[in-house]
């Protein structure tokens, strides 16, 4: 009998013995409410990291001064800025006391209540995140349109 088959059989026997010895079922992990927040924050960090990575690659692209590539870089810079902005807002919002916001049923009466500190200011300004993501998306569209017009055959990054 070959060695790897012996190894597989040994591993299966070991797992079987452990399962025989277990008392509580550990198959399903229960996820609590803050987990969604952390996943979201990690998602932002992960996305930011990927943007830095792609921007690094674009900076070294031989055709980076052509319109399509230039707009693509602008787009990713704006996306990065928007991502950091929203990350900051999520963190600041979590740190702010609930009493800092007045949120009645009528949404037009929603307010940020004093006293104000840096976090309040950052929160209020940061909430205008569309001022970053719309230019990002706009540059992205312009970039694609430029690629389409130039019929670029460049397949390298």
């Amino acid at each position: 009998m070959k060695d790897y088959i012996k190894n597989i059989i040994t591993v299966f026997i070991f797992i079987f013995l452990i399962l025989l010895d277990s008392i509580n079922a550990e198959a399903v992990q229960i996820h609590g409410p803050p987990e969604g927040f952390f996943v979201h924050i990690m998602g932002h960090i992960f996305f930011a990291a990927s943007l830095i990575f792609i921007l690094y690659l674009l900076e070294h692209h031989p055709q980076k001064h052509q319109n399509g590539w230039r707009w693509l870089r602008y787009s990713f810079w704006f996306f990065l800025a928007w991502n950091l902005d929203t990350l900051m807002v999520h963190i600041v919002y979590r740190r702010m006391p609930y009493s800092s916001l007045y949120l009645p049923l009528n949404m037009w009466e929603h307010k940020l209540l004093p006293p104000y500190n840096l976090e309040h200011v950052l929160y209020y300004i940061g909430r205008f995140d569309h001022l970053l993501c719309i230019p990002a998306m706009l540059f992205f569209v312009l970039s694609l349109r430029s690629f389409l017009q130039s019929h670029s055959e460049d397949e390298t990054l």
């Binding site: 004093p114 104000y116 569309h130 998306m137 706009l138 569209v141 390298t156």
Partner: protein, 530 residues
């Protein structure tokens, strides 16, 4: 209540979300076109899937901002509470997907580059292979052409050498390691008297050498020096006759120098050899003739005086005893004068000639009539084969009769008793170079080689002492030479015509016909001398 209103943020969120939704779909459309038109472009594929995540993000944000505003404004906050986690979850998935795609894209790019590089190399290898294949095909074609060309050249060369081998008048032979003939050309076969090649192949070359010493010299030279040049020797033909050959041969060697046989060319020099011998003999005879003429001339005068005085003394002396002695002196002196006369005949003396156009056939008939009776007494027949159209010759009839008489007497003496003497007359060639031949053959014992060499020498005879002076044939030789002809002896003759009749010896007298240029010149010379 004082505070910063949040509705500006909500308004920006609401319209911003709609704007994002529109822009993301426009981007998706562009990306879709790019992906479709550049199916092999990895970057456009990445952009397309990134657009998909942006669309998902836009939807989640429009849900998060626009829908939230609408639901809260329309008094359904509990509905928003239910939708909010989905919006957030979709948002998170969109981020993560975009990040994953972004991180993953360069790897795909690298993989694609590797695949492309492999494909490029494969393509290059294919192209190189095609070029190599093309070259190989060309090379094969050229090789085929070369092979055809070489084969053609080889065939031509083979034909050339085959023609040389088959058509050469000299013998070309090959021997194996054991000294046996492995191949020989037709001339070689004819030379040695073979008619079928298979009869001679495999025969040891040694057996053809007449003298064993010659074979040893030949063999030693081949093995020691590797060659032998112009080696003169005598070969034995299959019928027992011999021929003179001059051989040039070389050893056939392997790369390591081992001798595996020999190859050579042999030239038949028998005719040349015989001609040379004849020339030497002719020169010798001319020298002897001159000597004989000188002696005869010097002896003739004193013999004449002795004879004259002897005859005078005979008239004066009456004593019988002395008279008898004088008669003996006279007789012997006359004998001496006859010998001297014969010597002068042999040496072309200035004896008076009676030149005329002679019909040889008539001359023969007359001579045969004279000797026939004597021959018949010894049981010897004379058979004549005379050419009816035989041209005349310019000759001294008496001298020619003397030659004929000498030849017939020699034939008679050779036969002894019971036999046949044959006489042929023939003519050869056209008018201007016509030759008349008289052939006298006998069925005697033949002449051995040793005697044959000296047969025309003066005073050479095989007859017992007193029966012949040894001047008969030498005188005949002198007479025929004087007539511009030749006299030859063949014993035994090679021609079947003679062999079948049991003839052992033939004498061939050749004279130029009277019509020939040679005879005319000769006639002019003789007339001027006379």
């Amino acid at each position: 209540m004082s505070g910063l209103p949040l509705y500006p943020i909500y308004i920006v969120d609401f319209f911003g979300s709609l704007c994002m939704l529109v822009l993301s779909f426009i981007a998706l459309r562009y990306a879709w076109i790019l992906k479709r038109t550049h199916t092999r472009n990895v970057f456009y594929t990445y952009i397309f899937w990134l657009c998909m995540t942006f669309v998902a993000l836009s939807i989640s944000r429009s849900t998060g901002h626009a829908l939230r505003g609408l639901l809260l404004y329309s008094g359904y906050p509990y509905l928003w509470k239910k939708l909010a986690p989905y919006s957030g979850g979709l948002n998170s998935i969109a981020f993560i997907s975009a990040a994953v795609l972004t991180f993953y894209f360069p790897n795909v790019q690298k993989v694609m580059e590797v695949i492309k590089e492999d494909a490029r190399r494969l393509k290059e290898a294919k192209e190189e292979l095609e070029i190599a294949h093309e070259k190989l095909r060309d090379f094969n074609l050229r090789l085929e052409e070369k092979v055809k060309e070489r084969t053609r050249a080889l065939v031509l060369s083979e034909q050339k050498f085959r023609r040389l081998f088959e058509g050469s008048r000299d013998a070309i032979f090959f021997c194996d390691q054991d000294g046996c003939i492995s191949d020989i050309n037709p001339s070689g076969m004819n030379m040695l008297g073979f008619k079928v090649k298979s009869e001679i192949i495999g025969l040891p070359m040694k057996q053809f050498f007449v003298r064993h010493e010659d074979w040893e010299i030949y063999n030693k030279s081949i093995y020691d020096q590797g060659y032998i040049v112009d080696f003169e020797t005598q070969f034995k033909r299959v019928d027992g006759s011999t021929i003179y050959l001059i051989i040039t041969a070389g050893a056939i060697k392997e790369k390591n120098g081992t001798i595996i046989g020999c190859e050579g060319i042999a030239k038949d020099i028998t005719t040349f050899k015989r001609m040379t011998e004849k020339l030497i003999y002719s020169e010798k005879m001319a020298s002897i003739g001159q000597l004989a003429a000188g002696i005869a001339h010097e002896l003739n005068t004193p013999l004449g005086i002795i004879l004259g005085y002897t005859q005078l003394l005979k008239e004066d002396i009456e004593e019988q005893e002395l008279l008898e002695e004088l008669k003996i002196i006279e007789k012997q002196t006359k004998n001496c004068k006859r010998i001297v006369s014969d010597l002068l005949s042999f040496a072309r003396s200035s004896e008076r000639r009676y030149i005329s156009k002679v019909q040889i056939n008539d001359c023969i008939k007359q001579t045969v009539t004279i000797v026939k009776h004597t021959f018949e007494l010894k049981g010897i027949d004379i058979v004549l084969y005379l050419d009816k159209d035989l041209p005349k010759v310019i000759a001294d009839e008496n001298k020619f009769t003397q030659v004929l008489m000498n030849l017939l007497n020699n034939a008679r003496d050779a036969i002894g008793e019971n036999g046949t003497v044959y006489i042929w007359t023939k003519h050869e060639g056209e008018t201007e170079d016509c030759l008349v031949k008289v052939i006298v053959g006998d069925t005697g014992e033949g002449i051995n080689e040793k005697i044959k060499r000296r047969i025309f020498d003066p005073f050479f005879t095989t007859k017992p002492a007193g029966q012949g002076t040894g001047l008969g044939l030498s005188v005949s030789y002198g007479i025929i030479k004087e007539h511009g002809g030749t006299i030859d002896v063949c014993s035994p003759p090679s021609d079947k015509e003679y062999v079948s009749r049991g003839i052992k010896t033939i004498f061939i007298v050749t004279l130029p016909a009277s019509t020939s240029e040679k005879a005319k010149k000769r006639l002019k010379q003789l007339i001027s001398v006379c």
